[in-house]
Amino acid sequence: MSHNKTTIGTATPDTTGAIAVALNDLSDVNVSPSENDYLVYASGAWSATTPTTSTSAEHIWLGEGASQTYPEGWVGGNHVYFYASSPVNAISSASLASSDSFSNWYDEISIPAGTYLAQARAEGDFTSSAGVFRYRFTTEISGTTTTHAASGVSADLGNTNQNPAQAQALVKIASAATLRVEIISAGASNLATTGMTTNQGLYGYLWLMKVG
């Protein structure tokens, strides 16, 4: 057999024996691409796919500014609750939970693998104007907890030297996780465990946006 009977897909040798093979001549490729298309693998073959652009970012919002009394004492190591009578959950496969079953107060968010921009503000109750604690995001996967920078600060509203700051984090998780906001024990002082107020209901919020 002569080499000029060799074909690769639809490509045949020229008079010099060279074969100009195009992508579509391959047995597992089927493309009629447009500008900026990707080659994507699906069901055993490669084909051209146009990247899509969405104007929606998956997100969760808790923060109604509601005058609701915080449901438990503020203790270092505990998780912060956020109030929402109508929580916004626009993240696929995500869910909200209250570990102590407080109505409309949420301290746990189950999220799928991905990358998230997270922001939250906690506003605690204190026994004196010197009261203060820091808080930060954590994720738990199969019993292992990871903390995420940066922490926020909550101080007594009478403490003009400690304006409220928020916790912010870029959270990247390889598998489904439970996201929480933890009250950091170190440095926490004068936290109120009785007589809780509406501070967290009025000032607290949590924003989570899936960015990858």
Partner: protein, 225 residues
């Protein structure tokens, strides 16, 4: 030349001379391990498979305005009345739409409220006007005071219905700490618009709208759905 000596990657001719070449047979391609959704990606002089090609996000709209004025005592905010919306401060004429004082995209708009019952002639943003969608409302506010124990509390509200759109935030009169950040969230139904402002909901002592430094503050909306 015999056809059966031709080999491309692992592919060899069949009895009719046809070579069944797959993508992985090419010299500069390694897509072993590809699964559904994988994409071909060029990395380090080789085509390989990337985890996936998912939809990329591009916001449908945003609006942001900020202060560019650098000094002035300003007018006091009050918890009620005509001076109760936060406002940026710029000395330029209202018609100034340059990106030195604002950026807008996607049909969102910034507007001014009244200042003591008078519509300011200078660029002083106090409202965002939103059409259908879901929005994160973001602000950094500045309020001037000479007393550290003075404070003001802000909250995103619907201008027309007074609906609460997010938590309160407090800022004090302390010189370095009279800047604070606040967030809100609002959904706007199809065929409607909502005008949102940052309302003074509580105040202790005198806090005024006079600026302090260049670009201390921002009032903005960012569409997420």
């Amino acid at each position: 030349m015999s056809h059966n000596k031709i080999k491309i990657g692992t592919a060899t001719p069949d009895s009719t001379g046809v070579i069944d070449v797959a993508l992985n047979d090419l010299s500069n391609v390694d897509v072993s391990g590809a699964s559904d959704g994988s994409a071909l990606r060029y990395v380090s002089a080789e085509w390989t498979h990337a985890p996936s090609v998912s939809a990329s996000y591009a916001t449908a709209g945003y609006a942001a305005g900020w202060s560019t004025y650098t000094s002035g005592s300003g007018n006091s905010y009050t918890a009620t009345g005509g001076l109760n919306s936060y406002r940026t401060h710029d000395a330029t004429n209202w018609e100034d739409t340059s990106e030195s004082v604002q950026i807008t995209f996607g049909g969102l708009d910034l507007d001014r409220g009244t200042e003591g019952g008078t519509i300011p002639s200078a660029t002083r943003f106090s409202r965002v006007i939103l059409d259908e969608g879901k929005y994160l409302l973001i602000a950094t506010t500045f309020a001037r005071s000479s007393t550290s124990s003075n404070w003001v509390e802000w909250q995103w509200r619907d201008l027309n219905t007074n609906a609460v759109l997010g938590p309160r935030w407090r800022q004090y009169g302390t010189a370095q700490k009279n800047i604070a950040q606040g967030f809100g969230y609002v959904e706007v139904s199809a065929g409607t618009t909502r005008t949102c402002d940052i309302r003074c909901v509580a105040i202790n002592g005198s806090m005024a709208d006079g600026p302090h430094n260049f670009q201390d503050d921002i009032i903005s909306a960012f569409q997420v759905g």
